[in-house]
C-alpha cells in the first residue's frame, strides 16, 4: 500500500537527449495508473525511473514519503513485470518466483507458502516444477506476475506486459490483471502503447507525448474532454476527425470546407480559424439538410456489430470517418449528409493544438 509522487522529474540521457521534460504526478494508494503514448514518448523511461533502473536527472521521486532518487531498485519495495517476461530460463517456475525472496533472506517455509499462494491465485499450481520455456506465452506472463506478487511490494510496475501475446490472450490477460490488481489493491503503474488496454485498465490515464504528460485524468474524462489535438487523435479508434474551419460572423457556427456548418455553443470571436474535432461515432446521417457536411463514400469496412465508412469531402478531398451501429450498405461515391450535436464537438486552437 503506497503512493508514488513525482516532482518535476526530468531525464536527460548521456548523449544529451532529453527524454522527459519535468513530470508532475501523484499516484494514490491502490490506484491503477496507465501511462500511454506512442513509442519514444518517454513512458517506459518514466516507469524505469520509478523502478530505479534509470537514474533521475532532476526533480524527485517519492514512494510514500521516502525520496527514492538514489535508492537501489531492490530496496524500493517495488516489483516489475517485463514485456518479454524476463524469466530466468534455467530455473523452474517455482525457483523463478522464489528467487527474490531467497535473496532477501526469507525462510524456506515462508517462501513456500508465498509461492504456493501466488500460484493458486494465478492458476499455476500444476506448472511450478516446469521451466518457463515449457509454458505458453500467457502462462509465462503469469509466472512473471507471480514473481511480482510473492514479494508483496508497495508498487507494481508493468512494462507493456501484454504486447508479446496474441490478440485473444491479450484480452483475457487484460481482464485478469485488472481483476488481480483490484483484489490485491496494490498501487500499480502500467505502460502501454495500446489505447484499448489503457482505457480498460486505468483508474487514471496519463497520455504522454515527446517527454511531456499531455493530459492526466480518468479514461472517460480524457475521451470526453481531450486537452489537445494529440490526445484527441491518440485516444479513440478509429481516431477523431479533424476539420479545419472558421467561426461564422454571427458566432453561431463554424464554416467548414465548401460551406458546411457545424453549430457552436461556445463564445468564440467571429472569423477565428480553428480545428473542429468530431469522433466517428458522433456523426449521424441526416436527410440532406442545409449546413450538414456532405461527403462522398470512399470505402466501407463492415465489422458486423458496426460499420466504418470512410468518406471524403470538399474540393481537397479531405477525409472523414463515420462509425455506425449495425451493418449498412452504401455505393462507392454515394453522397451522405453528416450532422452532429454541439455538445459532442471538440474545438482546438489551430496553432497551439490546445482545447478551447
Amino acid at each position: 500500500m503506497a503512493t508514488v509522487t513525482l516532482n518535476r522529474a526530468e531525464k536527460t540521457y548521456d548523449n544529451g537527449f532529453k527524454a522527459l521534460h519535468g513530470i508532475d504526478l501523484h499516484i494514490g494508494d491502490g490506484e491503477f495508473t496507465v501511462l500511454v503514448g506512442p513509442s519514444g514518448c518517454g513512458k517506459s523511461t518514466l516507469l524505469r525511473m520509478i523502478a530505479g533502473l534509470e537514474s533521475i536527472t532532476n526533480g524527485e521521486i517519492k514512494i510514500d514519503d521516502r525520496v527514492v532518487n538514489n535508492v537501489a531498485p531492490a530496496d524500493r519495495d517495488i516489483a516489475m513485470v517485463f514485456q518479454n517476461y524476463a524469466l530466468y530460463p534455467h530455473m523452474t517456475n517455482y525457483a523463478n518466483m522464489a528467487y527474490g525472496l531467497k535473496n532477501r533472506g526469507y525462510s524456506k517455509v515462508e517462501i513456500d507458502t508465498r509461492v504456493r499462494d501466488a500460484a493458486k491465485i494465478l492458476q499455476l499450481d500444476d506448472y511450478l516444477e516446469r521451466k518457463p520455456q515449457q509454458l505458453s506465452g500467457g502462462q509465462r506472463q503469469r509466472v512473471a506476475m507471480g514473481r511480482a506478487i510473492v514479494r508483496e511490494p508497495k508498487v507494481f510496475l508493468f512494462d507493456e506486459p501484454l504486447s508479446n501475446l496474441d490478440a485473444k490472450l491479450r484480452v483475457d490477460m487484460r481482464l485478469e490483471i485488472k481483476n488481480l490488481q483490484q483484489r490485491l489493491g496494490i498501487t500499480s503503474v502500467y505502460v502501454t502503447h495500446d489505447q484499448v488496454e489503457a482505457m480498460t485498465l486505468a483508474d487514471r490515464l496519463i497520455v504522454m507525448n515527446a517527454g511531456v504528460a499531455e493530459q492526466i485524468g480518468t479514461p472517460i474524462e480524457i475521451y470526453e474532454k481531450p486537452a489537445s489535438l494529440f490526445v484527441a487523435s491518440f485516444i479513440g479508434s478509429p481516431s477523431m476527425n479533424f476539420l479545419n474551419g472558421t467561426v461564422s460572423d454571427d458566432k453561431s457556427h463554424v464554416v467548414i470546407g465548401d460551406g458546411s456548418k457545424i453549430n457552436l455553443d461556445h463564445q468564440i470571436e467571429s472569423g477565428r480559424e480553428l480545428v473542429v474535432g468530431v469522433r466517428p461515432e458522433h456523426f449521424t446521417l441526416t436527410v440532406d439538410g442545409s449546413g450538414a457536411l456532405k461527403a462522398r463514400v470512399r470505402m466501407i469496412e463492415s465489422l458486423g456489430a458496426e460499420t466504418l465508412v470512410y468518406l471524403e469531402f470538399g474540393e481537397k478531398n479531405e477525409s472523414v470517418t463515420l462509425r455506425m451501429q449495425g451493418t449498412h450498405q452504401f455505393a462507392k461515391g454515394q453522397e451522405l449528409a453528416l450532422a452532429t450535436t454541439t455538445d459532442l464537438v471538440h474545438l482546438f486552437d489551430r496553432d497551439s493544438g490546445k482545447r478551447l
Binding site: A79, F82, Q83, Y88, P89, H90, Y99, G100, N103, R147
Partner: protein, 284 residues
C-alpha cells in the same frame, strides 16, 4: 530430399573411404601395439591383433624402463591431465570473469582494454615464449604445475566468445535480477553461469584438447622427468627408438600414442553430448 539409389550408394562409398582414411592409421597403430617388437620388426605393420596387448600396455603404464625415462606412462598421463584440466578450467574461469567485467560494468577504457585483449589473439604463445620463460623462472616456478599452467591461462579467444555471448543475454534478465535483490556476484553465479553452460562446455572442450596437446611450453618448462607430459613422452620414446643397437620399441611407442589420444577423445565425446543438448534446450 529425393536421392536416387546410385547417388546414395556413391555418397556412402565416399563417406566410407573418408572414414577409412581417417581411422586406418589409428587402427594400424593400435593393432601393431599388441605384437612383440621382434615380430613387428620382421613382418612390418600389422592389420590385426597380436597376443601381447596386456604385456605391452602393462609395461608402458607401470614400468619406467619401457618409456626410456624415469617416469611411467601413467605418471605422464596424470601430468597431461593436470595440464589439460588446469589449462581448460583456468581459461574458462578467467575469460568468463574478464568478459563479465567488460560487458556488465561501466569503467574507463573498457573498450580499449577489450581490444588490447582481443589483439593478443594475433600473437601465438611462441612469440612470447622466451620472456614468459624468463618470468616463470625468476618466480622460481620451473618444474612446477603452477609454472606449467599459469602463463597459459589468459585467453583472448575465451574472453571474446564469452563477451559475445553475454552481450546476447537480454538486459531484462539483469534488470529482473536487480529488482530481485541480486548483487553483481549473485547475478554472475545464479544467472549468468547457468545460462552459459553450453558456452563453458564448448570452450572447455577446445581448451582441454589444446592444453593436452601442448608441446613446446612443457618441454621448455620441465627439466625434471617427473613432470613430463605424455606428448613429450611420445617424442622421447620415438627419439630413443634406435638407440643402443637394440630392436626398436615400436609396439610400446604405438601403445603410448594410443593412450595419449584416449583422454581428449573421451572429453570431446562426453562434453559434446552436453554441448548439443544445451544448444537445443537453452532459450534466453
Amino acid at each position: 530430399m529425393y536421392q536416387s539409389k546410385w547417388r546414395s550408394i556413391a555418397n556412402h562409398v565416399i563417406l566410407i573411404l573418408g572414414s577409412l582414411f581417417m581411422i586406418l592409421p589409428v587402427w594400424i597403430a593400435f593393432v601393431s601395439s599388441t605384437h612383440t617388437r621382434e615380430f613387428l620388426f620382421q613382418n612390418g605393420l600389422q592389420f590385426w591383433f597380436g597376443g601381447h596387448f596386456l604385456e605391452n600396455y602393462g609395461a608402458i603404464l607401470f614400468d619406467t624402463a619401457a618409456t626410456k625415462g624415469r617416469v611411467t606412462a601413467l605418471e605422464m598421463l596424470f601430468n597431461s591431465m593436470v595440464l589439460g584440466l588446469g589449462f581448460a578450467i583456468g581459461k574458462v574461469i578467467i575469460s568468463m570473469m574478464a568478459a563479465y567485467a567488460i560487458v556488465y560494468f561501466r569503467f574507463r577504457l573498457a573498450v580499449p582494454i577489450f581490444w588490447v585483449i582481443f589483439s593478443t589473439l594475433l600473437l601465438p604463445l611462441e612469440v612470447r615464449i622466451v620472456p614468459s620463460y624468463e618470468v616463470v623462472s625468476s618466480l622460481g616456478l620451473l618444474n612446477t604445475y603452477t609454472g606449467l599452467i599459469l602463463p597459459l591461462i589468459a585467453s583472448a579467444t575465451g574472453t571474446f566468445f564469452f563477451r559475445q555471448f553475454f552481450r546476447s543475454v537480454p538486459d531484462e534478465l539483469l534488470e529482473a535480477a536487480r529488482l530481485d535483490g541480486a548483487g553483481p556476484l549473485r547475478f554472475f553465479i545464479d544467472i549468468l553461469v547457468p545460462l552459459s553452460v553450453t558456452m563453458i562446455a564448448a570452450i572447455f572442450i577446445i581448451m582441454f584438447v589444446v592444453g593436452w596437446n601442448q608441446y613446446l611450453w612443457p618441454l621448455l618448462m620441465t627439466t625434471d622427468d617427473q613432470l613430463y607430459t605424455i606428448v613429450i613422452g611420445i617424442k622421447q620414446v620415438y627419439n630413443s627408438l634406435y638407440e643402443g643397437g637394440q630392436i626398436p620399441q615400436f609396439p610400446k611407442a604405438f601403445a603410448l600414442t594410443i593412450m595419449a589420444t584416449i583422454p581428449p577423445v573421451l572429453v570431446v565425446v562426453i562434453f559434446q553430448r552436453m554441448f548439443v543438448k544445451g544448444l537445443v534446450e537453452t532459450e534466453k
